[in-house]
């Protein structure tokens, strides 16, 4: 029989933990791990009672009921009440925005001009930012992070694991989307940016038309000098990357849909407080939705937000994921686990709430081949809980990324 040790008991013994960490320090090839759960949320079919995930070389080798998977004698085993796939935060600014909230750790927006789609997230992502560690310790293994919804086109986003190595090593996609914002946060001051809604859309159209002209000119004359801004916009025009557009008010949402249609852009709608008022239009557009954090403050442009919007989107069959969003003060980041929990408390079925931060988020971000569910061949990203993942009083007791136990804090 294997020497299975409940992780929590193990955590209480510093020496044994040290031994465990020593094992973990071995080269990846040597790593084999069995994670046992009284309840396994695979997000690829029904939940498995008394399930086991067999991890080898950073990937999932087997998933099944304990009767289907033999644990060799001496194998390393982690036990938990419930296990889920590593959580995916479908939209964050963590790593660009830091916890100090002073200028030197705030790289989520650059305000010299209102449209800077050429700004790359990977050039600003701070993988060792304490907030990256904080969300990791609460189960977030993958972040879609980048420039904040604080400018008309604030820059690019990236998808990155939260392992805390280098941005390159942890990156799943260096350029995921180009982020923009149609709401008041994109309002420019002192004539530096758009002062009204109509002006915001006008500027975006002009910029996209300019990129179209640039593409045509480059086609005619490949020697024409490169323009990084226009190259970034070309990614949108060629539908190689989606435009992530934050819009809360119903009229801003419609503006986003109109713009996407005019330029044949792939749109991912972000925030969308008032989506309930324009559901038919959003459905017709077929765009993905990254819904605002459930506990986002309801004021100003978000004053019509409802705790039940996630449940509504689920009922209506729209593609959506949940996010931690952007925060300017305290908390400097929300935790997507808790945002999903609150959505579940307000009518979103628990399985759907979990999917909104795992499998559905992965599909929306197009990383489902790698993460988002516990299936053979996928990255071994797992979260171990001592109870119902959504219960406020439960704890994350272990986080595994690429087969490595990256957090053993009881949090």
């Amino acid at each position: 029989m294997s020497h299975a040790t409940p992780l929590r008991a193990l955590l209480g013994h510093a020496t044994r933990t040290a031994a465990l960490l020593a094992v973990l320090a071995l080269p990846l090839e040597a790593q084999e791990l069995f994670v046992r759960a009284r309840l396994l949320h695979t997000l690829a079919g029904p939940k498995v009672a008394d399930g086991i995930v067999h991890v080898r070389d950073g990937k999932i080798a087997k998933v099944g009921h304990r009767s289907q998977i033999a644990i060799p004698s001496g194998a390393r085993v982690l036990d938990a009440a419930e296990v889920t796939p590593g959580l995916i935060d479908a939209h964050s600014v963590v790593g660009l925005a830091g916890w100090l909230n002073v200028p030197h750790d705030q790289d989520q927006v650059e305000r010299s001009t209102p449209m800077q789609p050429e700004l790359r997230a990977i050039d600003a992502f701070h993988s060792r930012e304490p907030l990256v560690g904080w969300v990791r310790s609460l189960g977030v293994t993958t972040l879609h992070t980048g420039h904040a919804p604080l400018a008309l086109l604030s820059g690019q986003t990236m998808i990155v694991k939260t392992r805390g190595r280098t941005a390159e090593e942890d990156s799943l996609r260096e350029l995921a989307m180009i982020a923009g914002c149609l709401g008041d946060d994109a309002r420019g001051e002192g004539g530096k940016g758009p002062g009204t809604r109509a002006k915001r859309v006008a500027l975006l159209r002009q910029e996209l038309l300019g990129a179209q002209a640039y593409l045509a000119a480059r086609e005619k004359d490949p020697a024409k000098p490169r323009e990084l801004k226009k190259e970034a916009l070309a990614l949108l025009l060629r539908r190689e990357r989606p435009l992530l557009l934050t819009a809360h008010r119903a009229n801003d949402i419609l503006n986003a849909l109109r713009l996407a249609q005019e330029f044949s852009l792939e749109l991912v709608l972000d925030g969308a407080s008032e989506i309930a008022q324009v559901l038919p239009q959003v459905r017709a557009a077929g765009c993905g939705v990254i819904l605002h954090p459930t506990m986002m403050r309801h004021r100003g442009e978000t004053e019509s937000a409802s705790m039940e919007t996630a449940a509504l989107l689920h009922r209506e069959g729209l593609r959506f994921a949940l996010q931690s969003g952007y925060e300017s003060y305290v908390p400097k980041t929300r935790v997507v686990l808790w945002e999903a929990a609150m959505a579940a408390a307000y009518g979103l079925p628990r399985e759907a709430a979990l999917a909104a931060i795992t499998s559905d988020a992965a599909r929306l971000l197009r990383i489902e081949a790698r993460v988002g569910s516990l299936e053979v061949g996928k990255d071994a990203d797992l979260v171990l809980f001592d109870g119902d993942p959504f219960e406020t009083t439960s704890h994350v007791i272990g986080v595994v990324i690429d087969g490595e136990l990256v957090s053993d804090e009881v949090r």
Binding site: W99, W134, M295, R297, E308, Y329, T392, T393
Partner: protein
């Protein structure tokens, strides 16, 4: 100093005391899971309240039900004391302005819009008593006000009066970084403490003149609204509610409190676990904020989920607060649940959202627990108060239902949607990067 002159206060007392007597008929709830907080939980309990006060409670069958009572079967729903928030900014409350860092004469009561959606939302969260405070952008930003969340259209209908008819409230102070700034605001921590000390020394002198005049030695000094409020603080009639995060800032508060003998409740207390021994020795109650991640400003880098647990283990009286709009009153119970996640006992976590807060507001004898003779302030929940899945179904203040999830208008405030937050203003002293 009274918020309202005593005769007027007495008149108001008569005017609004009928709220309690309005509940002429006793109400009896049977089959409730009672969480009295001050005594063990009663799984199949009965509670009777009449004229706004709790008349009886106990196991079903052990409680005599008055013949004329309106009887209702609760079917296992949870009944617990109405929640108490010791630190809230609902109603768009703004206190002191930018003219100086210490403004004890400013009353937040003069700046509260009780018709703002913050009030029905707080009721939707199960809150029945709140301490509405001015912000933390000053060393002393004004007088706070304790409000019962009765369904009132004016502030006067919500006031909580002591036995002398005085509208109860504390005073808000802050140290650390929020209250710093360009002159006349202090530029450093030491300067912050120096300015506070100077002001309290003046208040001591003013009190001495008042005392002398009362003893027949000399004339009473000219009225000084600033010093009058501070004298109330020195006399223990007004509790200092003190914003403080970093462990050294916490110790500075304790030092000043000891020096001038004022009663203090520490608020936020991010580094509380680092100063637990000193806080316990000073017998200073702590009202904690729980935010979902540490930081956002440098003095809150130490925020931990186990601060409540560490303080509880040290014997400190621990409450949580919403700091609404920092966290939303509607999910205040989640703060207590996060306290439990961090290691607080279940009893401690439940007390931290109810009785502990009431005690910090000097109202522990009137509300905060289910006890005979206390105000009939309740929230009715669909399930366990520490479970994320539980919903506040009803809120009652002094025997009157003030929130009902089954009522469409109340429901709008509970879950949000168009109209739920219209025109809600939030005054933040310090949001943003710079201050």
């Amino acid at each position: 100093m009274l918020l309202f002159p005593r005769p007027l206060g007495a008149a108001l007392l008569v005017l609004f005391a009928p709220l309690a007597s309005a509940q002429e008929r006793p109400i009896a709830w049977l089959g409730a899971h009672l969480i009295p907080v001050s005594t063990p939980e009663i799984p199949d309990g009965a509670i009777v309240f009449h004229r706004g006060r709790i008349a009886a409670l106990g196991a079903r069958g052990a409680v005599a039900i008055p013949a004329d009572a309106e009887v209702r079967e609760l079917g296992g729903r949870v009944v617990m004391p109405g929640l108490v928030c010791t630190h809230s900014h609902i109603g768009g409350a703004a206190g002191a302005d930018e003219s100086s860092p210490i403004q004890p004469d400013v009353r937040v009561a003069d700046a509260i819009d009780v018709r703002s959606s913050g009030f029905p939302k707080a009721r939707a969260g199960g809150l029945t008593l709140v301490n509405v405070m001015p912000g933390s952008g000053h060393l002393l930003s004004g007088q706070t006000i304790y409000l019962k969340l009765r369904r009132g259209r004016t502030l006067e209908e919500l006031l909580v009066r002591d036995e002398n008819g005085r509208a109860m409230g504390g005073i808000k102070m802050a140290n650390g970084t929020n209250s710093r700034g360009a002159p006349p605001f202090p530029g450093t921590r030491a300067k912050s403490a120096a300015l506070v000390r100077e002001e309290f020394v003046r208040a001591q002198e003013y009190r001495a003149k008042l005392d002398a005049a009362a003893a027949g030695n000399g004339e009473a000094p000219a009225r000084d609204l600033r010093l009058e409020a501070l004298v109330e603080v020195l006399r223990g009639q007004r509790v200092v509610h003190h914003h403080t995060h970093r462990h050294d800032d916490i110790l500075t508060v304790l030092r000043l409190a000891q020096e001038f003998g004022f009663r203090v409740v520490l608020h936020h207390v991010s580094d509380g676990a680092l100063a637990a021994r000193e806080i316990a020795a000073a017998k200073a109650p702590c009202s904690l904020i729980v935010i979902d991640s540490p930081g956002g400003k440098q003095e809150a880098l130490g925020m931990r989920l186990d601060t409540g647990a560490v303080l509880e283990q040290h014997g400190v009286l621990v409450a949580f607060h919403t700091d609404d709009g920092i966290t939303d009153s509607r999910w205040f119970l989640r703060s207590a649940a996060l306290g439990a996640r961090g290691g607080m006992t279940r009893a401690g976590a439940l007390k931290s959202a109810t009785l502990a807060g009431a005690e910090m507001l000097d109202l522990g004898a009137r509300t905060g627990s289910l006890e005979i003779g206390k105000d009939a302030d309740f929230c009715v929940l669909s399930g366990d108060p520490l479970s994320v899945y539980s919903r506040v179904l009803e809120t009652w203040v002094e025997g009157q239902k003030v929130f009902d999830l089954a009522d469409p208008e109340d429901r709008l405030y509970a879950v949000g949607g168009p109209g739920a937050s219209q025109g809600e203003t939030y005054v933040s002293c310090c949001e943003g990067v710079s201050r």
